[in-house]
Symmetry: C2
Subunit: 384 residues, 2 copies
């Protein structure tokens, strides 16, 4: 198929930030794009050729949309996967595949996939309802503490909870879930893998998440990770194994735990550009967004090496601030070497809302981390 | 002024490729943009917040457009400068200024500006009409050979001609022009200067143009230039001198000749992002497009150093090909390390039409140049 022709159309389900950043690269390659999102003000609206407002969880809507394009992708997992499957049967290229997405959408089937494929992951039990957990504990089949995760559409902060005593289970929704062994990890790592339909496969270097010592929130994403080669190699090999097992086409962000005894376990995956790869816009030879296009259009993959080291800081709304957003001291951080803010364009801030990110690059990762610390101390996302 | 607020509006005259590449960066900073262009299909249309179709050479049109924005800029020199002057008087921030643009728009006044400010440039004579030149030669006031340049809106290829004998003057339009001494230069250089309203000023490294030995067309733009530091320093200092003399705000691309005896002479300038700076998207810490925004919005300027060396190759339509464009072997060049095509999205090719560019980056400039040679031999812009 000739992607660089005026007949070719790429469809994207979801019109959020990730889609928007991918769309900049479609312009570079002059690829015609159609985007669908439920919000009329979706960030992608201004970056695509055609925008359609519609519900990407609705079977008929996704089916009708998909029939109008040559290659269909998504920038968010929460889409109607049955429609994707029908479209595949009709001959539309859907990348990543409906099969992969279906496995990933449910954390229980995702975990089973790892164990079925000999991929190391934290031991877990599967439950049809949260209410069944108490019984399992009482019968001695499950030991405290553990991590409760809702199986479907669980996102950090509301779909995951550490259970240290039975009473912690109260207030949790009574849904399909897993109980995972609490791994005393010393580091959280991620590796982005790109694979195209021809099977060409490459990993980005291992990135390291640095957590806020108290808030237990990722504060910095660093690439390359400040870890021995033996460990980063182990993480990259494992990520390759996961992507290959999925016969994945597109990007796969593999999040991993580094245990205290230097084992690497897969935590979960995202079949799309990922927060842990934002550094690549400024840091890598090929950004994750360009790479996603190359992969799903079955073009040769680009070089995944770093040009320079990169550190990414998320910009989240400050506590006690709700209202019209103001980026306090943004001019100050822009005067620092190698600092690029990415403002997502949300007009309203609220505590911990993700409003953008800042990338800091430097030849030396330690220097980049030092500047990143200053960035974090300086900029504030407040209301005004 | 708070540029990161929802009230702020940036206006851009012209909706071409340069504007489009600048607009990607307005998204990153969430800056609201209005674009005006005479073509309904202008490339910027899909990248701005508001698009208006209108004639940017028309006084009233530019005036009305400019009154709706806070900062007004242009991505092409050929705009109504009287309207810009009126807008400045009304308090609209116009960057670069109408005064600078007026001086630059006319090659005769541009050359006078250099001589008035002690800036080395090739000696020249000024004529109200081309027809006056013959007389000057006959009276011995002008010697052959020389370079004829139309004073207004002359672009390479149609506004410039080397005159070796009087008959070469035939066919030329009878317009205001200059006759410039033919400089036997050994190299053509360019330096992009960025200056913001506060007067912060930075240069990008000197780039070197490598010409096709026969066609006398720029084939490669290389950054850094493969020249001794003493020469690149001289070029950068001269570019700073020019931008400072203009009290320029925004980017100024300064094109220069390196003479056989290692003198550097200013050829001409462009008050905007420039072909010679395209390498910066992949090669520099701060791309010229982001830098233009920083400069005209009076933000701190970004680091102009290279992350890696960059070579830029223009993609022009092959001879004997007119019609629907096809980028033959684009997949082959995309498999080469550090190669990024930028396709401008023109649907029709014709001989020598500028259809895009390709950037090649590598830690080593000589390696990048070697890959660039392969790119040039491989990709073909043909009709199909």
């Amino acid at each position: 198929m000739n992607y660089f022709s005026s007949q070719f159309k790429l469809g994207i389900l979801g019109g959020g930030q990730l889609g928007k950043m991918m769309l900049y690269n479609t312009r570079k390659f002059d690829i015609y794009t159609k985007v669908i999102d439920s919000s009329a003000d979706a960030p992608s609206r201004l970056a695509c050729d055609e925008f359609i407002q519609g519900d990407i969880l609705d079977y008929e809507t996704v089916l009708n949309f998909g029939r109008q394009v040559d290659v269909l992708t998504f920038e968010i997992e929460n889409v109607n996967v049955d429609a994707l499957e029908t479209l595949e049967q009709e001959g539309i290229k859907v990348y990543p595949s409906s099969k992969t997405l279906r496995t990933i959408q449910n954390k229980a089937t995702q975990k089973l996939f790892y164990t079925d494929n000999g991929i190391p992951t934290a031991p877990f039990f599967r439950f049809a309802y949260t209410s069944e957990i108490k019984e399992a504990i009482n019968h001695g089949g499950l030991n405290l503490p553990f991590v409760w995760k809702s199986a479907r559409f669980g996102y950090d902060g509301n779909g995951v909870k550490v259970i240290r005593q039975i009473s912690d289970l109260e207030q949790l929704p009574n849904v399909e879930c897993i109980a995972e062994e609490l791994i005393p990890f010393k580091n959280e790592l991620a590796v982005i893998v790109a694979r195209n339909a021809d099977g060409e496969i490459k990993t980005y270097p291992t990135v390291e998440m640095e957590f806020h010592p108290e808030a237990n929130q990722v504060e910095y994403v660093l690439c390359p990770a400040r870890l021995p080669d033996a460990i980063t190699k182990k993480a990259e090999d494992l990520a390759l194994q996961v992507a290959t097992a999925f016969k994945h086409v597109g990007l796969l962000a593999v999040e991993m735990f580094l245990t205290k005894d230097d084992n690497v376990l897969v935590n979960e995956v995202a079949p799309r550009p990922h927060n842990s790869g934002h550094y690549s816009i400024e840091g890598s030879y090929t950004s994750q967004f360009e790479q996603q296009l190359r992969a799903i259009l079955n073009l040769p993959l680009g070089n995944t090496d770093n040009k320079v080291a990169g550190v990414m800081v998320n910009l989240v709304g400050a506590e006690n601030h709700t209202g019209n957003v103001h980026y306090k001291n943004i001019e100050t951080i822009m005067a620092m070497d190698g600092v690029t803010p990415h403002i997502y364009g949300k007009k309203q801030t609220r505590p911990f809302r993700k409003m953008g990110h800042v990338t800091i690059v430097d030849k030396d990762i330690n220097k980049a981390r030092e500047i990143a610390g200053k960035v974090k101390q300086t900029i504030e996302v407040i209301s005004k």
